[in-house]
């Protein structure tokens, strides 16, 4: 699959020299070094330590630089198999195949690429395969643009896969490594998507602290799984060629219902692992505040700065950062916001999917006035000034 120059006979893949450790040790215990790198480079550093067996991708901006760098990691021997597939349906299908065969598989895509791969991606959770998909959000609407807009995340909210939304380069590193391990727990056995807002994170340089690359995550044990790895000599039950599943009768309906119930139950079970590895599935600033901002991804950075500037002017504003979109940290959010008076939900998309999520969990449990915004879309930045203006308006509208 590769046209790379043949390695000398005594070549040792660099990955073979790394020591295997748990995600807990990697993320919570090892000392870290502070680097000033882009989001794509942070992803590369995560992949380098993730013990990836197989990486498959198809180029699309702004994702391309990450998987281009994954190619260098393959050359150095940190990734065992790597190739460019023909397009995203091929990528997502092959990635599922690799995972089904029992290895740790990773891919990455952006906006339109994600849309193209959707058919295959939607089938991952039910098949109980465990690939990790890095998603660098990009506009999908017309007119064409390459800038960040995270509407694509909403298309996957109900697939049953694990979904994390990284705020910055640091999160992109940490969440990717956490996802690689949590997906493979026996009581989870689900795929994960780690999203970031493209360009603002992928092509932007920021501080990232990382542990030494002498370490990598424990390898995947494909047999230690809710649905064991494929044994090609004894074909597995879960391939939809069995007549009862394909035919619409009571058996197929029961099977579909139970498979989907299993998926969503497993998704909830993954929460406890993220709670530990990410030090909580939400982050709260100024818990005593009456005015709160709740958001995920890049919007959190803008909200953080708004909270700081409001503080400089003597106004206390609270912030809830949502790290895991699926499983949605419902209880934590209700507890954090139950005494809030005004809630703002800034988003980098037109539809306001986070607004809908938050409203649905707070209904009947919180008396706050929930503001429908602010939002920017089409790849636009949300200036901090905009968040502050909306806060002022909320105070005026809901005294």
């Amino acid at each position: 699959m590769s046209n790379a120059v043949a390695k000398p006979k005594d070549w040792v893949p660099k990955g073979d020299l790394q020591k295997e450790i748990s995600a807990e040790k990697m993320l919570l215990e090892l000392p870290r070094e502070l680097l000033f790198i882009t989001g794509s480079e942070a992803a590369r550093e995560a992949i380098k330590r993730a013990n990836i067996d197989c990486a498959i991708s198809y180029p699309i901006t702004p994702q391309s630089e990450t998987m281009q760098q994954a190619g260098y990691l393959y050359d150095e021997g940190y990734i065992k198999e790597y190739y460019r597939a023909e397009e995203e349906i091929g990528v997502m299908s092959a990635t599922a195949g690799a995972s089904r065969a029992g290895v740790r598989a990773l891919t990455a895509t952006s906006g339109p690429g994600l849309m193209r791969g959707m058919e295959a991606i939607s089938s991952w959770p039910g098949a109980r395969v465990t690939p990790v998909l890095l998603d660098m959000c990009r506009v999908i609407n017309t007119p064409l643009a390459i800038q960040p807009d995270n509407i694509e995340i909403s298309f996957l909210l109900n697939t049953g896969m694990i979904m994390l939304h990284a705020e910055n380069q640091q999160d992109f590193f940490d969440y990717t490594l956490a996802a690689c391990e949590v997906t493979e727990h026996v009581d989870v056995t689900l795929p994960a998507m780690v999203s970031v807002d493209g360009f603002f994170v992928t092509h932007a340089r920021g501080p990232v602290s990382i542990p030494s690359d002498e370490y990598k995550l424990n390898r995947r044990d494909g047999w230690r799984s809710a649905v064991p790895a494929m044994d090609n000599e004894n074909p597995p039950a879960r391939i939809s060629r069995d007549a009862p599943i394909q035919k619409s009768n009571f058996i197929s309906y029961h099977m579909h219902a139970s498979w989907q119930q299993e998926v969503f139950a497993a998704l909830e079970r993954s929460g406890k692992y993220f709670e530990k590895l990410l030090k909580g599935r939400i982050e709260i600033i100024n818990p005593e505040a009456e005015d709160f901002i709740i958001c995920s991804g890049s919007a959190v950075s803008q909200a953080r700065e708004a909270v700081r500037q409001e503080g400089e002017n003597g106004r206390v504003v609270g912030l809830v950062k949502v790290k895991t979109l699926r499983p949605f940290p419902t209880t934590s959010i209700v507890n954090a916001l139950k005494n809030a008076k005004r809630i703002l939900i800034p988003e980098f998309n037109q539809a306001g999917w986070m607004h809908k999520e938050v409203c649905s969990v707070l209904y009947g449990k919180c008396k706050a006035n929930i503001v429908d915004g602010p939002r920017v879309f089409g790849g636009m930045t949300m200036p901090t000034e905009m968040v502050i203006e909306w806060l002022a308006k909320a105070r005026k509208d809901f005294p």
Binding site: A204, R205, S301, Q302, E305, R308, T381
Partner: protein, 236 residues
């Protein structure tokens, strides 16, 4: 300590090294012990297409991300950003803070429309012209060093990054750990390397260009005004 925020918006055209310059300045600030972040903005990576890049500089951790809508400083790498409107931001000074600085790569002052001139006057914008391409051609013998010329001047104006850190940052870009800016810049690197057989020579030419425009900016008295504006009007 009060949080200081310096926000720089750079605009130029594809191939000039605007994005690279932003990486170099931002990395230089971090080397010198300050806080910085940057984000580029471009369409397809092709020559002569509009490019913008944004650098944030602070004495505290930076949270904000994305484009800089309300900059203190504008760096215009090519006159056609203004004269031909080759810019994502129209007019080019949109959002500039009151009393902000505009550093333009042009040998001679540009002529603005009456409305533009009025708005620039109302903003009390400091318009400074730097013959960056001419200095690059003279010192490095190539206009490819225009971006270095712009970096040298901004170092003198801000005092941050200092010239030494800026030089270290340039070194990071071309040798040693390397800085990934984009796939397209890899091709450009090889083109530059052909011109400068040795990287050392390339570094030397870049450093000399930095120094030349640093001195030029000092000679113009921009450093004092820049430092003054940092304390007062240009700081957020």
């Amino acid at each position: 300590m009060a949080v200081k925020r310096y926000n720089v918006r750079m605009a130029g055209i594809g191939g000039q090294g605007v994005v690279t310059a932003s990486h170099i300045i931002s990395n230089g600030v971090v080397i010198s012990g300050g806080y910085s972040s940057l984000v580029p903005f471009f369409g397809s990576e092709k020559r002569n297409a509009p490019v913008e890049s944004y650098v944030r500089i602070s004495n505290e951790e930076i949270y904000e991300i994305g484009e800089i809508i309300f900059p203190n400083v504008l760096m215009i790498f090519h006159p056609s950003v203004i004269t031909l409107g080759k810019s994502y931001t129209m007019p080019f000074y949109t959002g500039l803070k009151q009393g902000g600085i505009i550093l333009i790569n042009s040998k001679t002052p540009l002529k603005f429309s009456r409305d533009e001139q009025r708005e620039l006057d109302e903003k009390e914008a400091k318009l400074w012209y730097l013959p960056a391409t001419e200095i690059a051609n003279e010192v490095a013998k190539t206009d490819l060093a225009t971006n270095m010329a712009m970096c040298g001047a901004i170092s003198a104006i801000f005092g941050l990054p200092d010239l030494e850190s800026l030089a270290a940052s340039v070194k990071d870009r071309f040798v040693g750990k390397g800085i990934v800016t984009s796939g397209g810049t890899a091709a450009l690197d090889s083109a530059i390397e052909k011109k400068f057989a040795k990287k050392q020579k390339l570094l030397e030419a870049n450093h000399n260009t930095l120094k030349a425009t640093y001195q030029y900016a000092l000679d113009q008295g921009w450093a004092n005004e820049g430092a003054g504006s940092k304390k007062e009007s240009a700081a957020v």
